[in-house]
Amino acid sequence: MKRLLIVLLIIGVVSVGFAADGTEQGFVLEEPVAVTSAGQSPGALQFTVVAKMVKLEYTFEKLLSVETVDISQFKTLVLVVGASGKGLGAANIDIEAEILRVKSLAEAAEKSGVKVVICNLEGESRRGPSSDRIVTELAPFADAYFVKSDADQDGFFTTFSEKAGVPLATFEKTVDLKDVLAEYFGK
């Protein structure tokens, strides 16, 4: 763990800044954070690596479910969207079951006053019918979007963000997410 933190620190130091074009003043997120995948791509794992850089207090479960966890113990729920056929296959679930799982989580979060963040960390490579469908299903629950810039070239996330009046923070490189997290979580 110590080694990993050193590595993360080095990467953090050499990384370039991000473009927080959608950040709204005054909107803050709180810890502890629940992180799960929405589509079973490795994006959620990437999120946890970046979260370590800013020492975010988080719990990560790929298949976090309302049946197994009381979501009200968290202050923020991060749903990292990315549909992966391999990932879904490995988890022995189909896209319908996955959508049901993450929607139930988002609904429970909303009821408990837990903020919901929809995150795209893998950019354009995780834009497609399945990933877009997950985002569309989750959009009514979103309190913020953290999105890699190339995933929003067609304004897909901007449209949701503007319609709901919730912030959209975009960043160029995966590692730049740490600046977004630092800003929103006051790190």
């Binding site: 590595v7 990467i11 794992l45 391999k86 296959g89 490995a90 893998e122 490579s125 995966t174 590692v175």
Partner: protein, 376 residues
Amino acid sequence: MVSLKRHFKFLIFVAIVAVVVVLSAFSFTAMWEDPPIIPGSGVTEIRMLSEWLPSIEGTMLDTEVYVINGSEEGGKFLLLGGTHPNEPGGTLAAVVFIENVSAISGTVYVIPRSNHSAFTHNDAMEGSPQFFSIQLPDGSQRVFRFGSRRTNPISQWPDPTIYLHPTGATLGGGEVSNLNRTFPGREDGYSTEKVAAAIMNLVLEEEIDLVCDLHESSPEYPVNNAIVFHQDSAELAIMTQMMLEMEGVDIRLEESPVNLRGLTHREIGDNSDAQVVLLEVSNPSQGRLRGKTTEDLVTKGIDKFYLQASKDGKLFAPYDESGYPLDLRVARHMATIRVLIDSWNMMFPDRMILLSDIPPYEGLVDGLGTYLNPVS
């Protein structure tokens, strides 16, 4: 008279068949000879895979293991090329590595023709070229084989209808001749399983820390320009992806499914302490949408059907009029290996693998021939 005429026609037919058979035999057996690999000064030893499984000695399955040993102790890295010999970017990246790279600390084992038998033929009905060549700066050419995804039937035939993997999983029968479905192998099993077992023995006996298996994939395949990683290698893979991205090389991540058996990233990871990744890069000469499969398609990667598919948004890798040349594919692999090793060294400084003379990305994109040694 009629009988004599009939016999004469039959003899002519037999003679034509004999000529075709002899000419075909020359063509087929031409692939049995290994094109030379010219090791660079970093290679300290050339061993044979049969040292880790003597029963394959003297067969088409045996293959060279190039050892690059640093003067200082360090980690141990196994680089596999040619697991699928119809994916030349993987083979060529391993060859370029052997011909250029030196180690300061640690030891690198490179197997450029992992499924050696599969290099000795190519796939029926695919119309693939048997050979392709790369031009060197001095004007000479280096020739390489475009082999098959599967072991030569001369080494292994027949395949079963259903392949019962050692874990109990069932796969299609043909997969028993696909090296990347037969790990961790069986020492007394099918020929391809023996190769997997030999590589597995190498990993265990040499106490390999890190394994990287080099592949290519069809542009229409979702796992493309990607690092596929065993779950125990997640942080290493993510670190590599983020560092590559900072260098301007976009690569996606895919976690190895636990229920997809026989692959290097699954079985070596499950059956050893090594961290394992598999690299994919887009290869238009491999996919189902391609047009005529020529040597040019293999090396330049230009295909009008893939261009159309790209315009229609059907591909999982960038593709335009400039194609997806072998130079770029090898450059991507080499950059990923370099950053993978950098990431390893940052995470495991007590098992440092310090390498020098890794060809740069830009140089390889300009022409990988610059990084191949001439055959004297």
